[in-house]
Every structure is written in C-alpha cells, then in structure tokens.
C-alpha cells in the first residue's frame, strides 16, 4: 500500500497548472489526471469570455436583447457573484471588466475622465436583470466576466472530484490557486510557498496546509506611475479608478473559492484592507507596496479551516 507521488503539469485557463497526486500505480494517477483535466477543460469552455459559444459569451451576446436561460450550475455561480457583490457593497462586480478598455497600463498615460464616464453607466451588477434561471444584461454596452472566480471554483471542483474518485493525498494548483485533496500520506501538511512581491522568483516563506484552499490576489504586476502617483490594476467598479491598496494578499480558507473571493475583496477595501483582513479572522499573509511579507496565520499550524 505504498502510494507514489506523481506530478502532472499542463496549461489551462491561461496559466500554468499542476496536479500532485499520490497513487498506487502510474496508470491510476494518469486516469485521475485525465479526469481532472477534463473537468478543467469543461469549465474553461463553459465560462470563457473569449468564446462565443460559452455561456458567458451567450449572455454577453444577448446584452440589450432577450433574457438568456442558464443551467443550475451557472445559476449557483451567478448567485454566488450576487452574494459577493452584496457582501462587498458593490466592490466585487462581475460587470466591471469593461473598465479595462479605458486603462492602458503600457501607455504610461492616465485615461481621459470622459472615457471612464462613458463606461461607468454600463457597470453595476445591480442593473443586471437576474431572476433565475434567466439573466438579461439591460444594455448592449454591458458584459459579465466570471474570470474573477471560475479558476478557484475549478480548483475546488477538481479536488472534490479526485477525492470522490478515491484519491486521498494530493494538491491541485491552477495558476497559484490551490485546493488540497488531502495531506501527504501519514498526514504531513503540504508546504505552500508565499511569493514576495518584491522578489517574485523566490518564496518569502512556506506555510503548512493540510486541507482547504489557498488563493492570492496581487496588485504589483501591472501598474503605471504618473506624476509620482502609482496606479495599479485593481479598479473600483463604482468609480472606474484604481484603488490604492496592498501589493499582495494570500488567504487560507476552507475552500479555494472562499480564499480567492476574500483576497480579491480585501484588495478592494483600499486603505482599510489590513484592518478588514484582521477582522475577517482567516489565516493570511499580506504585503504592502515596498514592504515585507507579513504573516497573520493565527495558530502556527495554519491548518486553514
């Protein structure tokens, strides 16, 4: 009964992914990996905003037109998006993607306010006519994008799928969003590296995790500095302007999806992000721009529950 660790690396959802699975035989591990990739591919096809035949593509194509009927899985994802929108008081908004059109971070120029003002009327989940199972975007300028949490959802789904298939030890890594299937055989934790935003190539520290999920939101990759003021890519959907916040937040929670939502909304809290995270009470690490990585892991076991 000696299970061997096997790693599978592949690209999906636009980022490098990895599965680390303990299996009795290579054949079994390959079988699990194939099932996992199938599930990831299914979600990518279904929720990509770049594909006209995806459900998101169909909803966006129907903007300003008739309502689109969606299936139960999409219904619960849209319900989840609505919960996040409400709970974050409008900061987390799946209709905010169009604001990226006004912001070109390579240009080193601020957008004209007129450009933002033209987009703002088309942003706001509260305007979406969502009455399950039908959704209608009220005007042709509106778009939704589930990219903010489909990857985390997929990580949780895959971990669950592999647990049900009999895998007891392993970890799913979709571009840095992690879902633990189960600890190493014998119960030893996985050691998750937290990246230092100032030196992205080496981990600032390792956090032991035996269950649940880990996700990171960062605001250090794309930005521009105009007149000495830094403009990051985290946009407040209510103003259309970037929010000055932390450089990076990594949250440990019972699900990758919860960790991802919490880290995203933490950045959207702007200057109160640190206090908000303290009140939230989930184990996390955070890093201010130019500062060190601070660990707030509660008890050191960091067994994020």
């Amino acid at each position: 009964m000696s299970a061997r660790l096997q790693a599978f690396r592949f690209k999906a959802m636009g980022c490098p992914c990895a599965l680390q699975l303990y299996a009795e035989s290579p054949r079994r591990a390959r079988h699990w990996a194939a099932a996992a990739r199938g599930e990831i591919a299914r979600l990518e096809r279904k929720y990509s905003r770049y594909r006209g035949d995806s459900i998101v593509g169909r909803i966006n194509a129907g903007a300003g037109d008739a309502p689109v009927r969606v299936d139960p899985e999409t219904t619960s994802l849209l319900d989840y998006a609505e919960t996040c929108f409400r709970q974050s008081e409008g900061r987390f908004d799946i209709t905010s993607g169009i604001l990226r059109r006004a912001w070109d971070f390579r240009s080193e120029r601020l957008p004209h306010q007129d450009a933002i003002d033209a987009l703002l009327p088309h942003v706001g989940w509260q305007r979406v006519e969502w009455c399950a199972p039908e959704i209608r975007l009220p005007d042709t300028g509106m778009q939704i994008d589930l990219g903010g949490f489909v990857k985390e959802y997929a990580a949780d789904r895959v971990a669950q799928l592999l647990r049900e298939a009999g895998c007891q030890s392993g970890i799913v890594d979709l571009g840095g969003d992690l879902a633990v299937i189960g600890p190493h055989p014998g119960g030893a934790p996985w050691r998750v590296g937290v990246r230092d935003a100032n030196a992205p190539d080496r981990p600032a520290g390792l956090v032991p995790v035996t269950s649940g999920g880990v996700a990171t939101s960062g605001d250090y990759e794309r930005c521009m500095v105009v007149d000495g003021v830094r403009y990051g890519h985290v946009l407040d959907p209510r103003t259309g302007w970037p929010i000055e916040s932390l450089a990076s937040v990594t949250v440990f929670a019972s699900r990758c999806l919860i960790a991802g939502t919490a880290s995203t909304i933490a950045l959207l809290q702007g200057e109160s992000a640190a206090r908000w995270l303290d009140d939230l009470g989930l184990p996390h690490t955070r890093q201010a721009h130019g500062g060190p990585v601070e660990a707030h892991l509660g008890d050191t076991s960091a067994d994020a529950a």
């Binding site: 619960s76 996040c84 709970q87 601020l110 399950a132 007149d227 019972s254 699900r255 919860i258 909304i265």
Partner: protein, 428 residues
Amino acid sequence: MSRRRAQNKAAARRARQRRRQAKRLERQTQPRTFLHAITSGALALPGLADRASAESAPLEMRADYKYSQYSEDSLDSGKAAPGSERDRYEIDIHQFRFEAPVGDRWGVGLELAHETMTGATPWYVTPGATPADDPVQVMTGATIDEARTDAMLTGTRYLDRGTLSGSTGVSIENDYLAVNLGVNGERQFNEKNTTVSAGIGGSFDQIEPVDTDLFPTRPDKENKQTYNLSLGASQVLGRATTIQSSLKYQLSDGFLSDPYKLAFVANIPETDERPDQRHQFSWLTRFRHHFTRMGGTLHLDYKLGVDDWGINAHEFELAWYQTLFERIRLIPSLRYYSQSQADFYAPFYVGPRSDGYRSSDYRLSPYGAFAYRLKAAARFQTWQLLWDANVSFERYESASDLAIQSVEVENPGLVSYNLFSVGLTARF
C-alpha cells in the same frame, strides 16, 4: 509634449478628486457577516460541499431576549353573568435564549421563559335568564399573581448531511410540573434541495390543583402523558420557491380535563369531564416564494387538524416579508382559524350525557378567528456585535360567526386579545 503633460496634470487632479470620492464610498464591508455569507454561498455550489464538511455548525454565539405583553379583552357585559368578574388574563412574558457552538460539530442551546399572569379565567357557562337570552359566562375570581417558568436545554450534533438534536425541558407553575424530552433528526439529499426530518417527543405532566379545600370536587393530584411523532419533508423548487410539508401525530393519555372549569348540567355546576385519551393528527403545508424584483417573500401556510374528540380545524396564514434598505424588514400577516366542536361539548347541559363527559370550555367550542399582525425588524452592527431588533403587534379576534360552519349558540367565553412583543438578538 508639454500639452500632454498639462493633460496628465489635469487628469491627475481629477484622479485625486476621484480618490476622495472613493474614500467617501468607503463603507466597511462587515467581515463577520461577509465570511458567513460567502461560505454558505460557496457551499451551495455544485460539488463544493463534500462529505468531509459537515452541516456547518453555528459559527457564532447568539443570545435572544424577547418581552411580550398578552392582554385579553374584557368580557362584554352581555356575555358575563351579573356580578361576575369581567377582566381577563394579562400575561407578561420574558423569554431568553442562548446558543453557542461547542467545537465545530456540536451546538448547545438554552431557553428560559418566565410568565406572570393576572386576571380571571372562564369558570362555567350558565343559560341566559330566559330561553330567548344567550348563555352567559361566570368567571373565576381575579387571580393574584400566578407565574410559570420554563427551561429547556438542547444539544445538536452536526453531521455530514444533516443534524441530530436532543432536548429536555421543564415547566413549573405553583400547581403544575411538566418534564419533556425530545429527539429530532434532519437529513439533506440531492445537493441540499430536499430535506427530510423526523422527531419524537414526550411530555410528562403532573397537576396538583389549588384550593381543593374550597372546592372538594377538585382532584388532589393528577397526571397526563403526551407523546408525539412528526415526519416532514421540504423541497426547493427552483431558486425562489420552497415547499414544506409535515405530519404530526400526538397521543395524550391521562387526566385531560380542566380541574378549574365546571359544566352546567341541569342547573347544577359539575366538574369538567373529558375522555382520558386523545389522538390528534395535524398536517401542515408551507409554501414560500421570493419575488426578486420586489425584494419580498410570500409565505402561505395551511394546517389541517383532526382529532378523535371530533374537533376538525383549519388554519390559513398569509404573510409578506418585505426587505427595505437591506437592513429593515416589514412583515404584515393575516391568519384565519376555524374549528368544529368536540362531540361532548355543550355551552350547558339540559341533562347528563350517557357517556358521562361534559365540558363547556370555549376552546372545545365551535368558532373561527382572525389574527392580524405587523412585525418590523432591523439589523445593525455596533461593538463588533451584530444586532437584530424587532417589534410586533398582533390583534386576535374570535367569534362563533367567524367559523366556516354555522354555529347556533356561541360560547360566551371566546377570547380576543392584543399581543405586543419586542425582541433583541445579538450575535458575537
């Protein structure tokens, strides 16, 4: 080039204004409720609630306090016997509940209630002065304070797809002692869209009537046992609609008469005598539909009750839960109730019945009732606690001509009351 700089300067100034505006928008997302909400949201997604995560135990401690003032209308002079007391019961009720998680798989709850009662209650009914007159109610003398204290302890185990809970409680009055026990289970199926529940319980009551020296016909000490079984199911029908249905059977055994009431038989007040067994069935169906556009939920309930004493009851309730400004709820509701009489009931008896049973208790009489209620609830946060405050007022009126069937003689003791409550819940 310089023009570009000027443009950038102006844009930066606007950006500063924008940031100030953003600061004004900066209302804190409340992390505590946030985590609770997104966790339940995430676990509702297909395949995210796995066997390893139990039915989530209560995340927080919770304390509730509720004060209610129940006040029965005085008896109309036309319905009270001449010289009889007309003021009826006034009851002050204080209820306290506390729930706390113990580890992540257990929850405990404690409920305490204390009631103080003053006023008079219906004693017996006599025929009117002439055959053309309606019967009139004779009331007991006004009681000075009576009090009741209830305590109940509940333990809940959160299992992978359901809960199992046990409870035990006592109820104490100066002439009454009851102990109850119960076990309830709930299990969810098909991604939590179907819930099946079952419960079994019993209550063991002992009554030692007061003033037996003044009223020698009152028993010294009697007891009764009540056993109940319930089975229920609820089904989610789409995102906004739920239907629940439950069946309950209750067997009461022992002294089921009222030692303080009399029945007028051939012009002589005799003790209240009821069968010593009663089988009751009830079937309750609840329907809920949420109207997203209006931000309101409709509740429709229907309850059918049948028992072997001949009382068939129907109860309809219609309520609307309207959310305003995300933190206030207004709940107007309307309830209608109608029942037929117990076989052996009569307002008074011309002669004894062959089976020896007799009762003129208005609760066994044929009647109908309407209740109108308005409740308002508000949620706010302070001192790191989440508070819910609510206030409600209910008006209840019962009369024989409100019954579905036609009633020849109304029991003069039928009650109408006002019920006012204020409550406060703290979660921490």
